[in-house]
């Protein structure tokens, strides 16, 4: 004989299939819970994966902290770098120059194209400590000596550039010189500086790949008339999540004439949008579970009516209202647990085989569900976060438990004699 508590044993016995309409509806509601949980797991895992990749790409270009002097360039940046490096949270520091220039292609045939990209001046020996920029060169090399530069993949496509092509750069300084000399009556035209495309980088993030070129720090200092100054320092931390703490510490140790921006602050719009989107998905998809829970609720109501005389018999044997309630409440909990477990199985399987499924769909339908051109990734990212899984599992179970509450309460409140007389 079963050693389980009597209420639980009875609930389990009630779940044995009896080929009645009620058990078919029970099965349908369990499948509903399963689908709800599986869809939640897949969608939330893909969104987390996308979020994670995006964060990776952001910090791959801009590191974790940016240190600047308000309105003026940073002088004696090497001394400042040493002071920043002294902080134990800091993994690496590198100087940068960042501004806009105008570029003009010089094709052998056809007319030149113009664009105004951002230019970033980097010091390669430090840059590799703080960003993946120089490691993301897909064509050519990352050699920036002399008048060489790197362009983003999308920008190269837009301007029709290839490794080895020349590119003319006009800096703001040159336009200013032209303007002042014109006022003095001279008609000296701005002279472009001729660079050669040495490599094409691909960070996988459209905003960077379509709008930036990279030159050596010295060339960039020259373009912006900085002499030996820089626009600021980029800092990589051992733990990106410690950015606010590291910022506070550095602000204290460096003094008041520095401005520090964390990667979270800089990208708050997109990061917050992602969080809002994920939360919305959570709420929306929980409705699938909610609908399934209504199914459980209605089958339990039908079941309680079916079992009314037995409830009366149990009351005559001395079962309390609470004990009767527990029989039906544990039934809804068991149904919920079955649905959640099956949903976890299906969801985790779907996450594991998501790309095979995508490729299969592409082969069968010829239609791309996630075009790489738009989403910037050829494979669907996914990240299973324990806290998400706990919320999905716990939330679904709670919904199922709540669904059972009404029928169970009704069963517990049945008056013994009326239940016994039920036809």
């Amino acid at each position: 004989m079963s050693r389980l508590p009597f209420e639980l044993m009875l609930a389990l016995r009630y779940l044995r299939p009896k080929r009645t309409f009620v058990s078919v509806v029970t099965l349908i509601s369990v499948v509903g819970v399963m689908l709800g949980v599986a869809v939640l797991i897949v969608v939330i895992a893909v969104m987390s994966g996308f979020d994670h990749q995006l964060r990776d790409k952001i910090v791959g270009f801009n590191a974790h902290l940016r240190i600047e002097s308000p309105d003026v360039p940073l002088t004696d940046y090497e001394a400042l770098m040493r002071r920043v490096s002294a902080n134990p949270r800091v993994k690496g520091v590198a100087p940068y120059v960042l501004g806009q220039v105008m570029v003009k292609t010089e094709p052998r045939a056809g007319s030149p194209r113009y664009f105004v990209p951002g230019v970033r001046g980097v010091l390669p020996r430090y840059e590799t400590n703080i960003s993946r920029l120089l490691d993301s060169v897909r064509e050519g090399t990352n050699d920036l000596r002399g008048y060489r530069l790197l362009v983003g993949r999308q920008l190269a496509i837009n301007l029709g550039l290839h490794v080895g092509d020349p590119l003319a750069i006009y800096s703001v300084r040159q336009f200013e010189n032209w303007d002042s000399s014109r006022k003095k009556g001279s008609d000296e035209a701005p002279v472009a500086e001729d660079y050669t495309v040495r490599g094409i980088f691909d960070l996988g993030f459209h905003d960077f790949d379509a709008a930036f070129i990279v030159v050596s720090l010295a060339n960039a200092q020259d373009l912006f008339d900085l002499n030996n100054d820089v626009h600021g320092l980029l800092v990589a931390l051992r733990d990106p999540d410690e950015a606010p703490a590291a910022k506070a510490e550095l602000l204290a140790s460096l003094g008041g004439n520095h401005e520090i921006t964390s990667w979270m602050e800089e990208n708050s719009t997109i990061l917050e949008a992602l969080v809002v989107e994920k939360n919305m998905m959570f709420y929306l998809l929980f409705f699938i579970g909610l609908v399934a829970a209504f199914g459980i609720c209605s089958t339990l109501i039908a079941f309680v009516v079916q079992k009314t005389r037995e409830i009366g018999a149990l009351r005559s044997l001395g079962a309390t209202g609470g004990q009767i309630m527990w029989v039906f409440l544990s039934q809804s909990l068991i149904l919920g647990a079955l649905g959640v477990a099956a949903g976890f199985g299906l969801g985790l399987l779907a996450v594991a085989y998501r790309n095979d499924f995508l490729f299969y769909m592409r082969r069968v339908t010829g239609f791309e569900l996630f075009p790489a051109k738009i989403y910037n990734f050829s494979e669907l990212p996914a990240l299973l976060m324990p806290q998400d899984l706990i919320i999905i599992g716990g939330g679904s179970l709670l919904i199922c438990l709540l669904a059972g509450l009404l029928p169970a309460w009704k069963a517990g409140r049945l008056r013994p004699v009326e239940a016994l007389r039920h036809e």
């Binding site: 004989m1 508590p5 044993m9 037995e310 005559s316 044997l317 001395g318 079962a319 013994p416 016994l420």
Partner: protein
């Protein structure tokens, strides 16, 4: 629960001026009108009455399954009206055993589990309940059918299981409502024999409600329920 023995002169069960009226919305149907009843501890009494006379209603009131419209029921010095729902359930579980005409076994449980149900509801450990259940099933002649579901048992066998179930928590009073009503006369006879034997053996109080004079005749004391009132039998 008042476990003290009934003081001398006070009956084990006392029903005073019991009224029960069913409210059917548009009219009130009086079923019991001023029932007076006493039962001595361990006594065997038959309650005879025509179908619809209110026998079941009276048994339900005495067993705490329903509440009277007026009047009082005292069991072992305890007024049932004063027991809150939970204590009343405990009272039914420990002190009363019900045997119904339609057996009311739980179809999902086997014979042993059905018999053990009152003990399991009282949180008796499963092993102890099983030991008692097997002994009771053997006593009612079903030692070899412990793992059979009600659907695999005959009517007589089901009623034996129900009797064993009623005895599970060693109650002081068994209320049997037409226990032979669904059985042929031979099997009915066997069931009554069994109830009589067990009553004598265990000194458990037994109140059988029946419309059958032959069944009633087995009891040393017969009460007639006529027009909602009790009259001593002939």
């Amino acid at each position: 629960m008042n476990d003290a023995a009934t003081p001398v002169g006070v009956p084990f069960l006392l029903a005073r001026n019991l009224d029960k009226t069913y409210d059917l919305g548009h009219r009130a149907v009086p079923v019991l009108r001023g029932v007076e009843l006493t039962l001595a501890r361990g006594s065997f009494t038959a309650l005879r009455g025509a179908s619809g006379a209110g026998k079941s209603t009276l048994l339900h009131l005495l067993g705490g399954l329903d509440v009277p419209t007026a009047g009082e029921i005292w069991l072992d010095g305890q007024n049932l009206a004063c027991l809150p729902g939970r204590r009343l359930a405990e009272f039914r579980n420990r002190r009363i055993g019900f045997v119904f005409q339609a057996y009311y076994l739980l179809p999902e449980l086997d014979a042993l589990e059905n018999v053990c149900a009152p003990a399991r509801l009282a949180r008796v450990p499963a092993a102890e309940a099983e030991r008692r259940g097997r002994a009771l099933l053997a006593r009612v002649g079903l030692g070899s059918r412990v793992d059979h579901r009600p659907s695999e048992l005959s009517g007589g066998e089901q009623q034996r299981v129900a009797i064993a179930r009623a005895l599970m928590n060693e109650p002081e009073l068994i209320l049997a409502d037409e226990p032979t009503g669904n059985l042929d006369s031979h099997t009915g006879q066997e069931i009554i024999d069994l109830l009589c034997t067990l009553q004598a053996e265990r000194r458990t109080g037994l109140l059988i409600a029946t419309h059958d004079s032959q069944v009633a005749a087995r009891a040393p004391r017969v009460l007639d329920l006529v027009d909602g009132r009790i009259t001593p039998g002939p």
